[in-house]
């Protein structure tokens, strides 16, 4: 073979290899740092993959799609906006984490009976503070509350308490009742008994003492907080607990069929007025109780849970600002 012939053959081979390598290189380059997540109903496997890694400060690119029905995607305890994940579509999301830790991503669209089980985790490492942050135990553990036990109200009002009426007697109230610590650690019915036993309030009628309880509960929340609580309640809770809190949501029958229990009825004074905010916080954080209640600990920030709790009590108390 002539030298020029070898050269030309080599040239052809090199050309072919070059052409073949272009798409491979593009594929490799574009795939760098992109995580593709497929959503499936929890019954058929949930998110795939359901655990991913990321670095603090390094943008995480996600491509989301669904293999069956409409899903949603959100990351708990972050302010990432909720996106829809539809079959046949790619949704691209870029997130940058500022703090290390374990984040939970979850489905935000009711995709099936076990929708809430559709969760995955993002392990975020690196960052300046590699030492684990001290975590304070939730209030229900500090108070040693048994969140699985029934919590009947020790006393119930004869008429619906109103924070507006209660505000008229607020001047008679010792400021120790208005603190956040008192509010969170006491159920409304305990607070009622405390106030009833208070000699400074002995001139008030029973309904007016209940109005004062409503006033204490109201003054520990903000209108914005209650509005946020209402929004989150509608999105996350009302499918079981009902849009009006009656425990009669569209899934209440199937919850009953599976667990023998109905979702909590927040319009029932005998039950809700026996629950302190700390107790409700425990139930929301941990879930369970043999009722099919999901655990929201990895999803909501503490303040968010307090907002939801503030809203839940409005099923019992009339608010000042409606």
């Amino acid at each position: 073979m002539k030298r020029s012939e070898i050269l030309s053959r080599l040239l052809v081979i090199a050309g072919v290899l070059l052409v073949l390598s272009v798409p491979l290189a593009v594929h490799f380059y574009e795939g760098q740092g992109i995580v593709e997540i497929h959503g499936r109903m929890a019954e058929s496997g949930g998110w795939s993959p359901n655990s991913i890694h990321a670095q603090v400060g390094v943008p995480l690119h996600l491509r989301l799609t669904s293999d069956d029905v409409m899903h949603g995607f959100a990351i708990g305890q972050s302010d990432m906006p909720v996106v829809d994940v539809a079959p046949g579509k790619m949704t691209e999301v870029t997130i940058t984490f500022n703090k290390p830790g374990t984040y939970t991503y979850y489905c935000t669209r009711w995709c099936g009976p076990n929708h809430w089980r559709m969760r995955g985790t993002i392990e975020v490492s690196g960052g300046s503070s590699d030492a684990p942050q001290p975590v304070s135990p939730p209030l229900y553990m500090t108070l040693n509350l048994n969140i699985d036990a029934p919590h009947p109200a020790i006393a119930t009002p004869t008429e619906r308490p109103s924070a507006l009426r209660g505000a008229a007697f607020a001047a008679m109230l010792s400021s120790s009742y208005l603190t956040n610590d008192y509010y969170r650690a006491h159920s409304p019915s305990q607070a009622y008994l405390d106030l009833r036993a208070d000699p400074a309030l002995s001139s008030l009628s029973n309904p007016n003492v209940w109005d004062l309880v409503a006033y204490i509960w109201q003054s520990n929340t903000t209108p914005e907080g209650r509005a946020e609580g209402q929004r989150l309640f509608a999105r996350n809770c009302s499918a079981c607990h009902g849009e009006s809190g009656g425990g009669d949501g569209v899934f209440s029958a199937s919850v009953n069929a599976q667990t023998g229990k109905f979702p909590a009825n927040f319009t029932d004074p005998a039950s809700l007025l026996g629950a302190s905010p700390a107790l409700l916080q425990g139930k929301i954080l941990r879930g369970g109780m043999g009722t099919g209640m999901p655990y929201w600990g990895p999803i909501f920030e503490n303040e968010t849970i307090w907002s939801i709790i503030g809203y839940i009590y409005t099923f019992q108390f009339d608010e000042v600002q409606k």
């Binding site: 029905v69 409409m70 995709c111 099936g112 009976p113 999105r235």
Partner: protein, 156 residues
Amino acid sequence: MKLSREQWFYIILAGLAGALIVFAPLPVRVAPPSQRTFRVEASQFAYSPAVLTVNPGDTVTIELVSTDVVHGLYVDGYGASVTADPGQTVSLTFIANEPGSFRFRCNVTCGALHPFMIGKLQVGTNTLLWRAVGLALLAAFSGVALFPRPATVKAV
């Protein structure tokens, strides 16, 4: 075949009658436009009720309640749509100013039989049906009247 004057007369008459059937306004009772609210329950894979009947010009409000997974409702012809998650009743309001029969369908992929999750919005009386019935009757009648059977050949 040569048509007699009489036959021409009948043909023209039938044509006029046909035009009347197609174009004449039907004596449909026209109700004044009103507010109408429907509570439609969506579940896999049907709407209940699946047929909504309204009068033209009505302001229609559809409250969509999902009882299992996230569903949508898209009204063909009107292009109005809404999405409902369980526990969050949503409503869709539009003015039914276009008479006719329209499909509404789920526009959120909700499961295997999602494409078959449909319903019907009926705006006004289905005049097309009655006009078609009238035309068919007219055609049958004039066929018999215009072209009677030829006289039977007498037996030899």
